[in-house]
Every structure is written in C-alpha cells, then in structure tokens.
Amino acid sequence: MSLIDAFEKSATAAAATVERVARTPDQIAAAVARVAPAGPLAVAAPLYLPAELFDACRRLPGAFEARSRQAMDDCVVGITDAFAGVAHSGSICVCIDHEYAGFVSLLSRFHVAVLPAENIVERPADLFRPDRLNGDGLRRNFVFITGPSATADMGPLVRGVHGPHRLHVIVV
C-alpha cells in the first residue's frame, strides 16, 4: 500500500475524513466549501505551503482574520496547513506557534487541514529523525492530530470535546 493510501485508511479509522485535491487555490477552496458548515471561517497563514494557495479560501463566505479571543471562540471552521502526515497512525502534524495555526486548529468546531502528499511519513518516530522532513520534527513546536478531539470520561465515547468535533484532511 502506498503511504498516501495507508494514511487515508488510518486517518479514516481515527474518525477523520480525507480527500485528495489538486494543489491549486481554487480546488482547495472548492473542497472546503463542499464540506464546511456555514459560519465564521478562520484561515491560518500556511507555513509550508505557498501563502497564495489559501487565497481563494480567504474569499469564502464567513472568512475572517481572527485576532481576539472572542472572535476565535466563535469560529466554526478553521483552515491550516499540516507539515507532515503519518501513514501508520493517520495523524497530521500542525505547527502550533506559527501565526494563528495553533488556535485555528484547536478552537474551531470543524478543522480542515491541507497536507502536501510528499510529506507523508510512515511512523510517528520519523518525526524525530534528522534525515526526514529536513529535521523539522526535531525543531518545531507541533502537535500530532489524530482524528477529532474525543473523550470517554462521560461514559460512552463522545467526539468533539474542547477541540474540534470534526477533522477533514485535504491531501494536495
């Protein structure tokens, strides 16, 4: 199985949704529009992908530049890039200290992450190797995100706790 197929399978098993889209601003914005519910939509500046790839997303209805606690708290959809994907676990890796990516990926109800296909690695351990991803996994402040936030503390499994209720990964 290719890394991208394995990633898709694992991420789906972890209750994320995955789709593959051409790497153009319009295609990405169209993909977001297809899945995102209406409401305030925060776009975090991408770190790894060219900034202009998110330009069309910034023109989607509801799009805004989040700056305050209150604005971020009201955000329904959040778009970030992900600098790595992990095939075995279906995780994506998002830098949390670049611009507002940390907040957007956490405070929105619906997180859409855009992942470059060539940055999918096999195992979580690959993020700790200097010869993978330019060694960025050893330097960056980041989070492995594996599916939406979840809890079993209230009895049955519930998805959507403090973090997003849904995670959608757009592999470009």
């Binding site: 009895g155 049955p156 519930v158």
Partner: protein
C-alpha cells in the same frame, strides 16, 4: 470493642490505607458502589490494548528501546537535570527543582501570585495530585479549574483519582448525571454522554478564555532541548498550554530523557498501552515558552509568554538509590498494569490504590512519595504476573510488590509471629502469622500429610475452621485442599516403570501443592507420559519458593529457589527435561528465579533451568508433534466417559509464560469441543482468595469466569478443565462441580492396565 469503620460511601475516607482495616473498608465500598463501572471501563481498555499492541509489528523491539533509554536516563539523572536546567533557561523559561510537595506547591503559588493570576486552568497531572497543588492555590485565593473532564468530575465530587490515566473511571454515565444534577442547579438535559460533555465543555470554554495561567503535567521531557511531550485526547491540555500567557508544567524528575529524539519509541507504545490507540487525538511536542505564538487577548496589549518547568523530587531521588524500587521510576504511567489486573478490574483504584497512585505500580509510588504504610493496598497484587508482559518498559511489578510486602511484614509482625518466624522462616525472616502460614505451606503440608487423616478431620471441624480464621486469617468459607496420603512421591515409588528405549527423558517436579494436595494430577501425568514412551521419574519434593515469594518472604524464597535449582540440576545433567504440573512453579523457573538467584552461579542455574522447564501438557504436545503422534488416535475424545465437551480455563501465570496455547491445541487435536475463558485470573490467585480479608473480592473476581462458563454451557453442559491448583479450588467452590487437570482427562482414554 470495635470502633465504627470510616463512612464507607466516601472514597476520601478510605484514601489513606495505612491500616488494613481501612483497606478492607475500601474494598467493601468499591464492591458495593464502583465495581460495575470500573469493570466495564478497565476491561474495554484491556481489550483495546491487546488489539493495539498486537498491531505493532515491532512491539518487542520498541519495549527494548524504551527500557534501555529509561535505564540510562535514571542512572544519569543528576547530569540530565543539569543539562535540562540549562536548556530551559536558554529557551527563556524558568527551571525549578522542588525538594518536596511543600516546596513545589509554594513555588507555583508564588509564580501565580506574582503574575496576578486569579484563575488557573489545569490539565490532568497526577504529580499535582501527589503534591496537593489545588488546595495550596485555593488557599491563596486563586480559582483552580480542572479541565480534563474526568478531573472535572472529581473536582465536583471532591474525590481522589481511581485510575492513573482515567481518574474518574469508577463513574458510570448515570452516576455522573446524578452528580451534576445535584451540584449544578440546572434544567439542561444531562442524560447522555453528549449532553454531559457539552455541559462541561461550555462551562470550561469560558474558563479557558478567561484564565490567567495554565498548569499541565508532562509525559516526557528532553534534557537536550527542554522540549516536552503532552499526550491527551480532549484538547484541554493544548488549550492550557496555548491560551494563557503563563504556562507552568509540573512533573516528577523521572520524566526526563536525554534527548528529544528519545521521544520516538515512547509515543506509539504509550498510546497503544494506555488507550489502545495508534496515537491519542493530540500528542503535543513543544519547547516552551511558545514565544512565536501570539497571545490572544480582547485588548490591544498582549502580555509576553512565560514558562516554568517545576520538577518534583518528593522522594524520587531516594527511590533512585533503592535497590528494588528504583525500577518504578521507569514507569511512563500508561496504566497497562492496572487494566490487565483482575483485582483492579473488580474494585479500581479507590480500593487498589492510595491517595494518588493506584494499581500494581501504584504501591511503589505511594511508598516512594509518601510512606511505606501508604503502600499497604499493594496487598491486592496477587503476583498473578499478567501485567509483566504488558508493561511497555518491562517493569517487574509483582516483584516490586513482593518487596513492599517484605518491608511491611517486618513492621507488622507481632511478638507471637516473631517467635514463629524464627522457627519457620529460613534466615529468621519475620512476618505476621497469616503470611507465615501461607508462605511456609511446605512445612504445614509436610506435617498435615504425615498426620492425615487426622489433620483433614481437624480441618472439617467447624470450631477448628474458626480458630484458623482467627489465628492465621484463613477464611472459614474456604476449604483447604485435603492433605494427601500417600503423597505423590510416595505413590510414584510404586508406579514409575522404566521405559525401555525411551524417546525422551523427563523428571516430574513434585511441587508441594501436587505432592501434598493433589497427587492424582502427577500420577495421571506419569501414566500418560509412560504410555507414549517417555522415560519419566519423579523428583524429591521441596518448596520452590512461590508460596514464600507471594507472602513477601523473599530471603526464604531465595533459599528455596537455590535448593530447588540444585536438586533439578542433577536431573538436567542426566539429560532430563523438567516437567511441571503447577504453572505458578513454571513461572518461578522461567521468570522469578532470575531475581532470586542473583550471583553469577545462580544466574547460570536459572538460565539452565529456564531453558529445560516445561508445562506438562506443553511438553507432551511438543513431543507428540515432534514424533508425529496423532492426538485423535491416542486420545479419541468421542470415547471419553465424560463426553467431549469441555470448558478449559488456563492459569494466569501459564498465560504469561506462554504455555497455555499448547493445552488448547492438544485437546482440540484430540477431538474435544473446547470452550475457553478469557479472564486474566480466576480470582483465587494462590493463597489470596483464602484470606478472610479478601474472600469477597476473590469471589467477585471469579464472577466473570463463572459467567463465562454459564454462557459456554448455553447449549449443554461441559466438563471443567483447569491447569492451576488454585483455579481448581476457585472453579469448584464457585460452580460446585469437579474440575479436572488436563492429563487426568487424557489418562481416562488410555488402554486400561491390569491391576
């Protein structure tokens, strides 16, 4: 004469189990109130962990790597702490090494006060529970909001954690609903997991947005970079590290690893061992302070980010010097030893736990960070060994608990016990009477057998049983197996026939349980072996050390181990393999003797014995496969007088040493219809279920097994088969039916010899 026991409904009232009486009260409380939720939740964790670890192709290699990293880290801890301090300061953070709970809490309170913090949000941290952080902050007028939903429940209920990763595991959904309805006067619907979660999330979101400071723990810390790993599923820890400008991480000093690259093998192992996931929803790898991340405010001025790493000693540096307990410092708090434990599954951490830490590993932690007496709940570790293969760092949890027991024995022994100790326990090892009775069963067995049937007749008198309960704590509802006359060794003298041209040579070890208690198992095994052309002799009987070890009589066990290994060495030199009836003895030979025969010569003895010892049926099955013998022809199940439908229960230690599948395979190959149990342990666990304090717990644990038998018999009765001696007693007492040893079943299918 009796003063009333503490109010049994309140977990707080039984958190400190320094006295045995409180421990017993806690078991009663947990069985009455918490058991159903604990059972369901821990067993779910347990199933998920088995599935997840079996999906890790390099599970064993990962365990080797994490073990090696932890050994190196703890050995070089002082140097690592110095490196870490420099790293944190280089990053612009503050580093504080706290001597004890008071030091840690007052440092943190000082940081919060200086920052003008009025509201602190907290992620789950067992270390902060250990040092009692919340109380100290609240005394300073600071509001503390626990944001992990389980910790939120506990804060509302004012209870201590009952599990190290799922602290409110003892709460069912229904009990949470009742709790919230009584504490929050609300008309909101709170009748589903979704509704309860939404209710808590909305309350806590406001706390996150208003918080002045965030306090988290740390799962892993890297000395080379000052990076920390934080593992969670809810997102509250990410909120806590990101939203407030002030972040304080508190952790035990043992969490430090040499480098960030060392995190690699831990992450997947931790997730698989803890919640049975490939990774938890969020695994953050951060090097605070997060200066590059903006601070969200509702005003124009954003404060600068501030980070404090507070590492807590609180007894850990002394644990590091402890010849045995230092191994507990390798623990990464995954809870595999809790979830794989039959006793824990039944009562949870409010009975099998102290004020903070719970389960098999919890005793060492309470002893290390509080007092030896605080670890008294580690009595609930039966030494069944199911956790040993489940620990991702390969910590020998039962041996830690035997060591705690040994140390507690010395404090607990009264004058009479000391007198008996001198006479009974080799090397003058001191213990209370109950421990001596069960730990030196070899001595009682010898006399009991010599005096049988008088000793058995005594056993049957109600008055005598009461006396036994009073003096040695043997529960009057339990019946000790009758002492046999003749013993296995005596009986075998008449039936060991030399096999001409043997295809294999073996020695059957006459362990004390088989020899004095149930020679028929040994005799049946001899018959089966001889009928297949195996030359088998019976060894002398001697105590192998299992009983002594289980009661914390470790020096006694070590002496017995040496004697046993020497005895069997002669047989091994005579090219005989050692064959065992009792799985707990096989586990001694394969696992525990490594710890008991510590010198160089002892290690050689151990290795040779380990490599030549087999479960009787495991040996038989390997022999039959090696020589091409057909089980269906030799043991045609269809002709069995008891029928071919069986229920087979394998022994806990048999599962751990991997000898259980052979019995199932042989019985199936012979044509038996075999249903099996999948419980971790029957609940008897050697002497545990005989003790008056633990009888109720033992029977409660057994309910799962009894239930599985009932379910397997929905389409008709089955013959009960078990390998372990204590499993026999438990099954027989729970189901009131005979239980057979596998070779007893097979021997009935052999051609009848004359006479």
């Amino acid at each position: 004469m009796a003063t009333p026991a503490p109010a049994p409904e309140s977990p707080r009232a039984v958190a400190n189990k320094s006295s045995k009486r409180t421990l017993v009260a806690a078991i009663r409380m947990a069985l009455r109130i918490e058991s159903p939720a604990v059972r369901r939740n821990t067993q779910t964790f347990n199933r998920n962990r088995y599935a997840a670890t079996s999906a890790l192709a390099d599970y064993d290699q990962l365990k080797d790597r994490t073990r090696a990293i932890k050994e190196r880290a703890i050995a070089g801890l002082p140097e690592l702490l110095a490196t870490l301090e420099a790293s944190v300061k280089r990053n612009g953070g503050h580093f504080y090494l706290a001597r004890d709970a008071h030091d840690a809490t007052h440092y943190i309170a000082g940081v919060c006060t200086r920052a003008g913090a009025r509201l602190v949000v907290k992620g789950k941290s067992m270390t902060s529970e250990e040092v009692g952080l919340n109380r100290v902050l609240q005394e300073q007028g600071i509001e503390v909001a626990e944001t992990d939903l389980a910790e939120f429940i506990l804060q509302v209920a004012d209870e201590q954690p009952s599990h190290i990763i799922a602290p409110a595991i003892h709460y069912s959904r229904e009990r949470i609903t009742a709790l919230f309805k009584s504490r929050f006067k609300t008309d909101l619907p709170l009748d589903t997991g979704e509704e309860l979660t939404r209710f808590a999330r909305e309350r806590l979101r406001q706390k996150f947005l208003a918080a002045d400071a965030g306090i988290t723990g740390a799962n892993l810390i890297a000395a080379d970079s000052g990076s920390i790993a934080l593992v969670e599923s809810e997102g509250n820890i990410r909120m806590t590290t990101l939203l407030p400008p002030l972040h304080i991480a508190i952790a035990g000093v043992e969490k430090v690893l040499p480098s960030r690259a060392d995190f690699a093998p831990f992450l997947e192992l931790l997730a698989a061992s803890a919640t049975g996931q490939k990774l938890s929803s969020y695994t953050s790898i951060i090097t605070p302070p997060l200066h590059a991340a903006p601070v969200l405010t509702n005003s124009d001025t954003a404060p600068r980010r501030e980070f404090h790493l507070v590492l807590v000693d609180n007894g850990r540096m002394s644990m590091r010097q402890d010849p045995v307990l230092h191994e507990a410092l390798y623990c990464i708090r995954c809870s595999a030893c809790l979830n794989s434990c039959a006793n824990f599954q039944t009562v949870g951490g409010h009975a099998f736990g102290g004020e903070t830490y719970s389960g098999g590993i919890g005793g060492s932690w309470e002893a290390g960070t509080r007092t030896l007496e605080a670890a008294r709940f580690s009595e609930l570790c039966t030494g069944c060994s199911r956790c040993v293969t489940q620990c991702p760092i390969r910590i020998d949890v039962p041996f830690l608990n035997s060591t705690l027991r040994q140390r507690l024995n010395q404090r607990d022994a009264n004058k009479i016990a000391q007198l008996f100790s001198t006479a009974l326990a080799d090397g003058g090892e001191v213990a209370p009477l109950q421990k001596l009775f069960f730990g030196r069963y070899d001595a009682f067995g010898k006399w009991g057998s010599l005096l049988a049937p008088l000793s058995n007749w005594m056993n049957a008198i109600p008055g005598a049983r009461l006396l036994m309960e009073k003096f040695v704590g043997l529960d009057r509802r339990r019946e000790l197996p009758p002492f046999a006359k003749p013993t296995l060794v005596e009986a075998a003298k008449n039936c060991v026939a030399r096999v001409s041209d043997p295809k294999a040579k073996a020695v059957l070890f006459a362990d004390i349980f088989t020899n004095y208690g149930s020679p028929s198992r040994g005799l049946a095994t001899l018959r089966v072996f001889q009928s297949l052309g195996i030359d088998v002799v019976v060894s002398d009987t001697c105590a192998d050390g299992r009983a002594a070890l289980s009661q914390g009589l470790i020096s006694t066990a070590a002496g017995q181990a040496r004697h046993t290994a020497e005895l069997l060495r002669k047989h091994i030199e005579d090219d005989r393999d050692v064959v065992l009836i009792e799985p707990s003895v096989l586990a001694m030979f394969r696992l525990d003797y490594r710890r008991l025969l510590t010198d160089a010569e002892g290690q050689l003895l151990f290795e040779r014995l380990r490599d030549h010892s087999f479960d009787a049926v495991e040996y038989l099955w390997a022999f039959m496969q090696g020589t091409g013998l057909d089980a269906a022809k030799l043991f045609p199940a269809a002709r069995h007088p008891l029928g071919k439908r069986l229920f087979y229960h394998s022994h806990c230690q048999q599962k751990t040493v991997g000898s259980a599948p052979a019995t199932e395979a042989l019985l199936r190959a012979a044509g038996f219809d075999v249903a099996t149990s999948n419980v971790e342990c029957c609940g008897m666990a050697g002497s545990f279920g005989y003790k008056k304090e633990y009888y109720d717990l033992s029977m409660a644990v057994g309910q799962d097994l009894f239930q599985q038998v009932t379910e397997a018999e929905s389409d008709g009765p089955r013959v009960l088969v078990a390998t372990g001696t204590s499993c026999h007693e438990q099954l027989a007492s729970g189901l009131k039916r005979p239980v057979f040893y596998p070779t007893e079943l097979l021997a009935a299918l052999l051609p009848q010899l004359d006479g």
